[in-house]
Subunit: 341 residues, 2 copies
DNA sequence: TTGAAAGCGCTAACAC
DNA sequence: GTGTTAGCGCTTTCAA
């Protein structure tokens, strides 16, 4: 007969005719509790529809069983998938997740970190909007609770020890690069987001591919926002070309890809015909598109799960670790040999 | 010089040489505070890097500035977008969001609601996995805080008053239906998810289309899970057909669409050629696919924003409302006239 | 205008 | 095995 919904432990104790501490003992599974006590208390708990106040518990235990997740843009399916992996693992471990969108604005990160700090989260999962914003780094240094960086590298600084999960974007990108080079492409356009770790890594990967084949780095990289607009604009710029025409494009993300494909359609270009195309991250579009689009693939759900695990580890053993997860190039018909001209 | 990070209000008071209540007054912008007091306190706050403990505030104020968001599957880009809209609006109003994945399992909903109850959230946004699970409804009835249902209708029952945001799926679907009927299609396959509001609405919409054209309802509906597997299996079943072959398919969601397209490709079927195709909800794939795929569109971010607004309203004025948002059919080349055979 | 003190709901000594 | 009580950090009367 759950009627109240706002009963407190004192009322439960009163109803059961026992002390508050006894109710607490029953509810926290303390060993020294008689069976009869347990039954009486549980009966009252059920009768009153009692829900322990986790705020009070958190205040008392100095542990909220809550973690904060700051993410640049949760509407990005890739990040939503990361979130899924992390939330599931954390929930199974008894933690709740406070989700905060930073809108990819570096100046908001510090504020969000402070908010989570005030909420006394036990730890944080962070997809920072910037790796070198001073306010953000200062906020991070002031933290007592463990944090896990998601695909971000911040400059080592005193008082900042963090765990991190990273994807080895460079390897997958290098594989994509050598694939294109081996197909005869030399003039490759790389469209990427802002200068964060994954952007740098992808750049390095492509550079490595040219080096591995003993070629001069005759690619062109266009940085910008991680959205369709930048994808489309950059694609247009690359296709209009300067002296040497682009023969292959690599889109560094699903939103960029959407922009690139829009520009292709506007011009009547078919991937793999006039221009070869590679994208980063698998989405339904990449495999179902005609022709299917080659991608640098990574397991984003696993990425989120590992991030959660690193945080749980840090919470338990106070250890900090960095884990690097692989990426993999998946060739598909959007990449074709450069026609001898 | 933010050094501590774990200072409490007493330490701030001590450092400033004032009473705790004075610190509290300064921090809560109480009017009767001298300028000098304000300055002294703020200096100490800065010096100690003090972050007020929101748990203690919540305990005392009976208000946590936190809302819970229970969602079936955050990795679904549509729901991620809803989340984006809701989180943004709530954050701007000063609330934090606790996100919980229910994995679309009805038996988890009640548990999640109880958890949020224990966390004393000020309100909840709910995408229930079931509209008639008894445990869930019981948990809902026991709630004191306002809730907003997202595209769900629960049976009216005593002690359960909720706000709701609904999409008018039926209208968009009816428009899609008449479009297909006017193209000559009669044997339409409707692939949908589990029997929740949006599934019912879409069914009604299609039925209405047949009725509007004075036709017998010669469509076929296949319910199942909202995933690619069901989409593919259902498409296969529809294409294998029984007596009368299907000439058009409507996929009730982006994940279902992925399955349908996979089956089309397996069989070498091109949408709009052998079989016309409509999907629900716009994603990059639908517009960029060749041929572009007709969709029943809705503004999911706005949906999330409105849900947040309804909750904020309920929190402020204790009012409950239901808002219905429109959907719109967007014809595209994936729908073509039925070839006279 | 400021300070002292009660109390929000809980847990963990400590006593019996 | 169970009860009493202090105290987690905060806000808000109530007095001064």
């Amino acid at each position: 007969m759950a009627n109240a919904g706002r009963a407190n432990i004192r009322q439960v104790a009163g109803h059961a005719g026992v002390a508050v501490s006894s109710v607490s003992r029953v509810l926290t599974d303390h060993p020294d509790v008689s069976l009869e006590m347990r039954e009486r208390v549980m009966a009252s708990v059920a009768e009153l529809g009692y829900h322990p106040n986790m705020l009070a518990q958190g205040l008392r235990n100095r542990r909220t069983m809550t973690v904060g997740f700051v993410v640049g843009d949760i509407s990005n399916p890739i990040l939503a998938d990361v979130m899924m992996g992390a939330e599931t693992a954390l929930r199974e471990a008894g933690y709740s997740v406070i989700l905060i969108n930073s809108e990819n604005q570096p100046e908001l990160d510090a504020r969000h970190i402070d908010l989570l700090q005030r909420r006394r989260v036990d730890g944080m999962l962070l997809t920072l909007a910037s790796e070198d914003d001073e306010d953000t780094l200062a906020a991070l240094r002031g933290l007592e609770q463990p944090i896990v960086l998601l695909d971000r590298e911040v400059p080592a600084s005193e008082g900042l020890v963090a765990s991190a999960v990273l994807h080895d974007h460079a390897s997958g990108m290098a594989a994509a690069g050598t694939h294109l080079l081996d197909l005869g492409h030399r003039s490759i356009g790389l469209i990427v987001g802002r200068p964060l770790r994954f952007t740098r890594e992808r750049h390095h990967g492509l550079a490595r591919a040219y080096a591995q084949r003993g070629l001069k780095p005759t690619y062109r990289m266009l940085e910008g926002h991680l959205d369709a607009e930048h994808g489309q604009r950059a694609a247009a710029e690359l296709l209009d070309g300067g002296a040497e025409p682009i023969t292959a494009i690599i889109a560094g993300g699903n939103q960029l890809l959407a922009g690139v494909l829009a520009e292709f359609q506007r011009r009547g270009i078919e991937p793999g015909r006039e221009v070869s195309l590679v994208s980063c991250d698998e989405i339904p579009l990449t495999e179902l598109f005609q022709p299917p689009i080659a991608v640098v693939r990574r397991d984003t759900r696993e990425f989120g799960r590992r991030a959660a695990e690193l945080l749980l580890e840090a919470l338990e053993d106070d250890t900090r670790r960095t884990v690097v997860l692989p990426t993999e190039f998946v060739p598909r018909p959007s990449c074709t040999p450069l026609a001898a001209s």
